[in-house]
Structures are given as structure tokens and as C-alpha cells.
């Protein structure tokens, strides 16, 4: 069974559209994250939720809105997509602040 699963794996869309990425973890972890990886492979944290509560909110445009319906799920909704949003988005989970387990990523292409 996949520990951290995110969908879709690929997302191609037009500028200005609204899209969502879903993430689920079956590890029983309390904390979930969204990371963004740019074209140079640089990984940067966007958000973190602990038991459905937002605890990390980096400098991210407010077009990005995370939602955690329960501690096993963390979704990412993006409004008014821009060209610069094109990247690979990774969901991850962890217990406390230790090693993160990452999903396989969602490659977002904004045309």
C-alpha cells in the first residue's frame, strides 16, 4: 500500500483556471506538508498542518489554499493559476518533526 498518495500525477491547465491536488497518508502521522520543487530541483516548504491545524504558512500567494478535512488528508487548491506556478508539488507526512515521507509528486504545467 502506498504510504503517501497524491492525485493527480500530472496536471496540465490554462492560465487563470482553478485546480486542486489531493493528498492522503495511511501512516497515522499527525503532520502533513506541501512542498514545491522548481525546475532546478529546489525544494521549498509551502504549508504544514498538525492534526488539522495550520502550523507553517510560508510566503505563498493567497491564491494557494490548503485544506485538511482530517489528519490523514491535506488538499491544495490553487486559484487563478499563473505560468510561474508550474512546478512539481509534493505532499509529505511525518510524526513530530522527524523524517518526512513524501508522495510521488504532482507535475503542474500552466500554459
Amino acid at each position: 500500500d502506498t504510504a503517501v498518495s497524491q492525485t493527480p500525477k500530472y496536471l496540465v491547465t490554462q492560465m487563470g483556471n482553478d485546480k486542486s491536488i489531493k493528498c492522503e497518508q495511511n501512516l497515522g502521522h499527525d503532520t502533513m506538508y506541501w512542498y514545491k520543487q522548481d525546475s532546478k530541483k529546489f525544494l521549498k516548504i509551502m504549508f504544514s498542518y498538525n492534526n488539522k491545524e495550520l502550523i507553517i504558512n510560508e510566503t505563498v500567494p493567497n491564491r494557494f489554499s490548503p485544506k485538511s478535512p482530517d489528519k490523514a488528508h491535506l488538499n491544495l487548491h490553487i486559484n487563478s493559476l499563473e505560468l510561474g506556478d508550474s512546478a512539481v508539488y509534493f505532499c509529505a507526512s511525518s510524526q513530530e518533526y522527524e523524517k518526512l515521507f513524501f508522495g510521488s509528486g504532482t507535475q503542474l504545467s500552466v500554459l
Binding site: V4, T31, Y33, K40, K41, F42, L43, K44, I45, S48, N50, I55, I56, F90, A92, S94, E96, Y97, E98, K99, L100, F101, F102, G103, S104, G105
Partner: protein, 113 residues
């Protein structure tokens, strides 16, 4: 400012050789370090971690060394195999921030048969 960086962006080795990937960090408050491996089209995969109260930790074919004096971290892979070809990242955490890992640039390791 806080940063984690890698000295070499690419590393090419022959199968069977030992590989060493280096990482420098600048935040002396960091107390937890992790190495990740990322294969093409996949998410980062945990390799090994080390806390700041240790200077060496060994896993299967991998060893992480931590030198707090010079703020340096390295990953040693013994008997490198073609399956080890990937991008390797070091990451640091201050421990009080829930998983707020700061990632380094990444090193591309290529293993030639």
C-alpha cells in the same frame, strides 16, 4: 541567513566505487539532519538521518558524517551501484519547527556500469 548548500552539483562514479556527497550548512541551531534520494519522476526517499549529538551514523551501505565545528555533512555510499543514480539532497531542521526542513541544492549522482 539560514542555508544548506552542496559543494558539487554533479558526481560521476564507476560501479563499485565509493561515493561521497558533501553538504555545508550555516545554521548552527540546526539539530537534525537528513539525506534524501530522489529518482526521476519520484518523490524524495529517506536514506538516513543524524542528530547533532552524534558525529557518525551508519546504515546499509551508507554512512553520514556530521562535523559541527565546520558545519559540514557528508553522505558516503559504499560500493555504488547503478541503482544509486539519483539526485541526493541534504536537509536540516532546528527541531522546534514541525518538519520545516530546509533543503540543499541537490547533487546529481551518476553511476556508470
Amino acid at each position: 541567513g539560514e542555508s544548506v548548500g552542496l559543494h558539487l552539483p554533479t558526481l560521476s562514479v564507476q560501479e563499485g566505487d565509493n561515493s561521497i556527497i558533501n553538504c555545508a550548512y550555516s545554521n548552527s541551531a540546526s539539530d537534525y539532519f537528513i539525506w534524501y534520494k530522489q529518482e526521476s519522476g519520484k518523490g524524495p526517499q529517506f536514506i538516513i538521518d543524524i542528530r547533532s549529538n552524534m558525529d557518525k551514523r551508519q546504515g546499509q551501505r551508507v554512512t553520514v558524517l556530521l562535523n559541527k565545528t565546520v558545519k559540514h555533512l557528508s553522505l558516503q555510499i559504499a560500493a555504488t551501484q547503478p541503482g544509486d543514480s539519483a539526485v541526493y539532497f541534504c536537509a536540516e531542521n532546528k527541531g522546534t519547527s514541525y518538519g520545516k526542513l530546509t533543503f540543499g541544492q541537490g547533487t546529481i549522482l551518476t553511476v556508470h556500469p
